[in-house]
Symmetry: D3
């Protein structure tokens, strides 16, 4: 079993604001992240798949196919978008936290990766914060 | 003359949209950056000052003072904000491009740095794009 | 289960020198790291916790709380210090190797992280050397 | 159990071309990587070993010994070489993919690391692509 | 005058070998870089242009146009190629050193950048080596 | 004129403490950097030389020679040392600030680089602080 990782990037705006809470509650829990008029990030997305190298190609899966899949299904839908307003793949009732976004990305990619097995979705929000999700 | 550089960071939302143009003109020039509902970046700001090292301290200027100044005057005003809507230091009539932002930051910091001389404002928007301004 | 990582940094001096050995033994095993008058590093510390995202916040735990905890308990005690002489959390009889330091950091943080579960302490000593500890 | 990682680097040329296929098949599967006259990369190799810190040294194993071993057995044999033509450790019948190279490196280093236990071979081909192998 | 920089990347093989010298002379001067069967690098190319921000756009020049130009004229011609054999823009009589490559890139791009003025070509060969050329 | 840069690294301990001042003055000016028992850094040193590429080699100067010179004259003397106590090239009466260290390195290397012309000494103390010296 070898693990292969592909990095893609996207830039997006979001805010963390729970509409069922008061302004004060939001400020207390989310701090600056609750700013009414949004803020944003350069996100880095690392998708890791696992499998056995094919004898003819030496590949787990073709990394160009993996890149195309990630772009088509994920980063082209998120890039230069507002994660709270613009993006169909994030339910409007769900907080667009990095944690939730990683789970959403797993659930989209997992059934579509058939040459290998999805192993990890890693999403880097800033140089100081990242999350990882392994599907369970 | 020795050059001393301090890095600070901030995360912000913005869009590039000229209100005097049609939607089509904006889309043609600014592409995805014109997205109505904003996008965002992790910005890195590098401020370079120049001067002679003081004999008693070995410093051009105290880098802690430089850091405090940059935070107070610039990054605390931009961090987790919308550069088009929330920020007094950017005129509402000015496009919040990285180029213009670098000039604005120079104009704010230059009169306030008296221990040394401001040399360069470098603003990194993504790993692939940055601008530098030297005051002229 | 989602994994959330926060990075913090500190700068410290140390040496690797076993007082029960001769100078020659220390030189042979620790090489330049045994230098009598110390050397130092810019350390990067990555703390990973795991848990389920909260429905109201989308968070495993509030990353600002995690950052405050790491600073209060670890990096403020180690930053700009001598790891052999100045630091109460490292027993004087213990070699201040990166390995031992990672275990010490785990043992301090583990009982204090109650919103989520501590998963990994990663400590980067140089761009070429790092250690990880998972609590067992 | 603590995990210790050492990074080493090498620069090499290679191509991905299956001699039992037509030129067209190679172009379809390998794309630009099949270029007849080779291309190349700056590879980063991360070797992770695991074990218990020694009481006298605080070390899993001496990282200088680990570095010497990686250089002698791996990077000095691959650095500034053509991975298809020049390198004895890669069988001529095997595609010099990053996946296969990670497995080869594991198989060479695993019997030679006796102070600790080899845990992971991570090989970074570009800033966007890397593989990991854990020996099974 | 503001300076705007765009980063692009390419991967290529090359060797440094002067055909008018003996094998021994080449080995003495170029060392491992003279390896008969090539080696390779992940190159990073930084193109800096200068000019005044346009009032309507806030741009020196449209960075998307700059990116397209660099890709079309430079990186698509060098990516996954052999710099000694495959590349028309490098004269066969010229050593494909990083220094010479930077000058060649300048000479190609300089007449084609008309919205702004080319300021610097920076070419990074490894994390430890890079060159810069300012056109004179 | 092409500019060629070589990076080397070293790890060292130091403190910023003026012996002609009181403890309180030192604490006020140098803060944590005045810690009696030292602290330390992973330093990155970038040496830039300029010149014309040689027709036979394509080189400004041989980067391997530049690397050997920097190691022999600078980094082997500073690596794993205490910059206040152990290092002959830093006068005992001079504050071992990053600014002063850059000037000292320039003064040592400048007469020894004869194949090309020394252009810049850049010394990175942390990811947030660096200095540059151009010899005047």
């Amino acid at each position: 079993m070898v693990y292969l990782t592909r990095r893609e990037t996207f830039n997006a705006a979001h805010k963390l604001y729970n509409n069922q809470w008061t302004v004060e509650q939001n400020a207390e829990v989310f701090g600056k992240c609750a700013n009414k008029n949004w803020h944003g990030h350069n996100y880095e997305l690392f998708i890791t798949v696992k499998g056995k190298p094919n004898l003819d190609t030496g590949f787990i899966m073709n990394v160009k196919d993996l890149s195309r899949l990630i772009k088509k299904e994920i980063t082209e839908k998120l890039d230069h978008k507002n994660l709270n307003l613009d993006v169909d793949i994030i339910p409007k009732t769900m907080m667009p936290s990095t944690e939730n976004l990683a789970i959403i990305i797993w659930n989209i990619l997992n059934p579509l990766i058939t040459d290998a097995q999805l192993h990890c979705v890693k999403l880097v929000e800033t140089e100081n914060i990242f999350v990882e999700y392994y599907g369970e």
